[in-house]
Symmetry: C2
Subunit: 113 residues, 2 copies
DNA sequence: AGCAATGGTTCCCTTTGGATAGTAAGGGCC
DNA sequence: GGCCCTTACTATCCAAAGGGAACCATTGCT
């Protein structure tokens, strides 16, 4: 039962939902939509993210199989992040959400906060 | 420009996105899908939420026009929460995300965190 | 008087998020 | 040789959000 009730504390679906329902996760995944990106690129694209939090976000995505992290043994270092098949799948509902937001931004008050 | 770049710090769309991309917000909105619900009902449905956090979540949704809060002057008190038209709109992409999660839970490792 | 029901609020502690500074390693420059 | 440049982080410290437990106000019931 709890296996199918996303509101249940122990439902695995809820854990996945909470992984995606995060301030930076959604932005990070969609930022990888068009192919591999380097750490610094993402850092600049996701305005306001600190390196620590970006690292944590990407690591969490990597641990959950949404993102592949490739370290190139060069100097200066080059690390590339790209979506896995699972990550590309998650892109779809995330992009859907994003496009809804885009279409309805103006329905929100000026102090969206 | 920043008006259309969800990654920009000042983009209103990003603020809306961050409102929805929250651990409890998505669950709360979908929990209201089938009509008005009372505080206690939501509290029981969203397993693990503390009254303080539930209050804050609902207030934020109310402030942003997604939820309507109605206090009935009775004893014991009765407070009902229901989605506004805007909230019902947000339901759609959220439900989409939820159904994707449902379909792909098993693609995630056993330690989804 | 005491208890139950409801929708919170208050206090305190833990977890998470965020800002800033520092580190390692090699290459180019002088 | 000594110095700086770049990159992708870690380390440290502090603020904000999340979470647990207790308490409150009101009225009816027993």
């Amino acid at each position: 039962m709890s296996r199918h009730d996303i509101y249940a504390l122990l439902c695995p679906g809820r854990a996945v939902f909470e992984l995606l329902a995060n301030k930076w996760t959604g932005l990070a995944v969609t930022a990888l939509a068009d192919g591999p990106r380097r750490f610094g690129e993402l850092r600049r694209k996701l305005e306001g993210v600190s390196p620590k939090v970006l690292t944590a976000t990407l690591r969490r995505l990597e641990d959950n199989g949404l993102v592949l992290r490739t370290v190139h043994a060069e100097v200066p270092p080059r690390v590339e992040y790209e979506l896995t098949a699972l990550g590309r799948g998650a892109l779809e509902p995330l992009a859907h959400l994003r496009s809804w937001v885009r279409a309805h931004v103006d329905d929100f008050g000026p102090a969206v906060r």
